[in-house]
Amino acid sequence: MSVQASAAGEWHRPGSLAEALDIRARAKDAVVPAAGCTDLMVGWNAGAGRWPTVLDLSALPELNRIDVDDAGVTIGAAVSCSRLANHPAVAGRLPMLVASARQTGSVAIQNRATLGGNIMNASPAADNPPVLLAYGARLTLASTRGSRSIDYADFHLDYKRTRAEPDELLVSVTVPFPSPYASVHYRKVGTRRAQAISKVALSVLLDAGAGVVREARFAFASMGPVPLLAGSLSAALRGRPLAGIDPALVTRALATDLSPRDDIRSTADYRRQVAVNLVMAAIADASAAEARRN
């Protein structure tokens, strides 16, 4: 379907990915790809009814699938946060993704907002990206030229800039199941518990066999221009005993990894302090979980 809208651009609502990619290839950035519309419509409404030409992805079967295999879950870009959080494989094996999906605005928002939109909107404060970074997710992008898979950790280049080309669409996100020995932590700090945009959010995947850190990934929201992995912190902790990690070490590593700003929601100083506190709380949790296992 493609109809001319009054006081607005065209509204394209293709029924297949091939058709959507054709439109995208022809129009490139002259169309705005849209799915749940929960963020885009805030801007369109503010523009007094001046809507752009929209490529509506909500009716594409290829983007509405959830597939599970032994290695992980592949989630279509147009799957809603509610559907994601209620999926048995996600609920059973990817608890951080359940937590972040349920923090993505209110229930009314979660019912419409999509995982793909939360990624492609490319806000540094988005709720699900830190979890995807910590789990080591990969993205599948497609265009009429073909499809490609890339590590999500390489996707965000700078504020609102990504590796997606103007003729590409995000098709799906593949999230590997973590090792059963890994412990995971997700914590979002906002002004209120429900429905607030984060001041800081942290997602952690920590694998500590015999009390020693084998692999640890710490991913933050609202701590720089993009959702980001704290690589120096991972390197600093690798090989160290979980018990007795010095907060000063964490503070030093995060000074390199994070570049928070003062903005309407918080200050850089507050964010840095909370980031260290959240990391220490995650380490204490993992340490307690490890002690219980032994």
């Binding site: 493609s2 009054s6 509204w11 928002i109 019912n111």
Partner: protein
């Protein structure tokens, strides 16, 4: 528009479609269709950006803020707004009994959020009620009476029509 628009859905049992002009444009807020075109003004506009829940309706039984739903996405859907609830819905009487409304702007959205909850969880805990209504803001009564009304309606579900005094 080579193939002609295929866009048709029901709102409170009435069919709206692009073909007969009752849906003037796909690029239009569901909220505006409900209030301005269907003339059903029970659904309120609070913030217009998905923060307050005053415009909440059910789309295929799921809660949605109608200010953030383009009608172009509704082909084949069933939309229920506050006028589409039966008059004897236990929530209505329970809200009245509990004194859960003051200025009333948030009430239709609150009732729809509560209806979405009770349809999926007929006997929710207070915590579940709080979570289900977390996206609906009230600036008058606060939330205690509203939460109590939902629990009251849940307890009386099946004995609809309890008198509002």
């Amino acid at each position: 528009m080579s193939e002609g628009p295929v866009l048709s859905f029901t709102l409170n049992g009435r069919v709206f479609s692009a073909a007969d002009g009752t849906v003037p444009s796909p690029a239009m807020r569901l909220l505006d269709l409900i209030r301005l075109h269907a003339g059903q003004t029970g659904t309120k506009e609070g913030c217009g950006e998905g923060e307050c829940g005053a415009c909440a309706v059910l789309v295929d039984g799921e809660l949605a803020n109608s200010c953030l739903v383009p009608v172009g996405q509704l082909h084949g859907c069933t939309v229920t707004s506050i006028e589409g609830l039966p008059r004897n819905d236990p929530l209505v009487a329970a809200f009245a009994r509990a004194g859960a409304a003051q200025c009333g702007i948030c009430t239709p959205g609150m009732v729809m959020a509560a209806r979405a909850l009770l349809d999926r969880d007929p006997h929710p805990t207070l915590e579940a009620v709080r979570e289900a209504l977390a996206g609906n803001l009230c600036r008058c009564t606060g939330y205690v009476r509203i939460h109590a009304a939902v629990l009251d309606a849940a307890a009386g579900e099946g004995t609809a029509g309890g008198g509002a005094s």
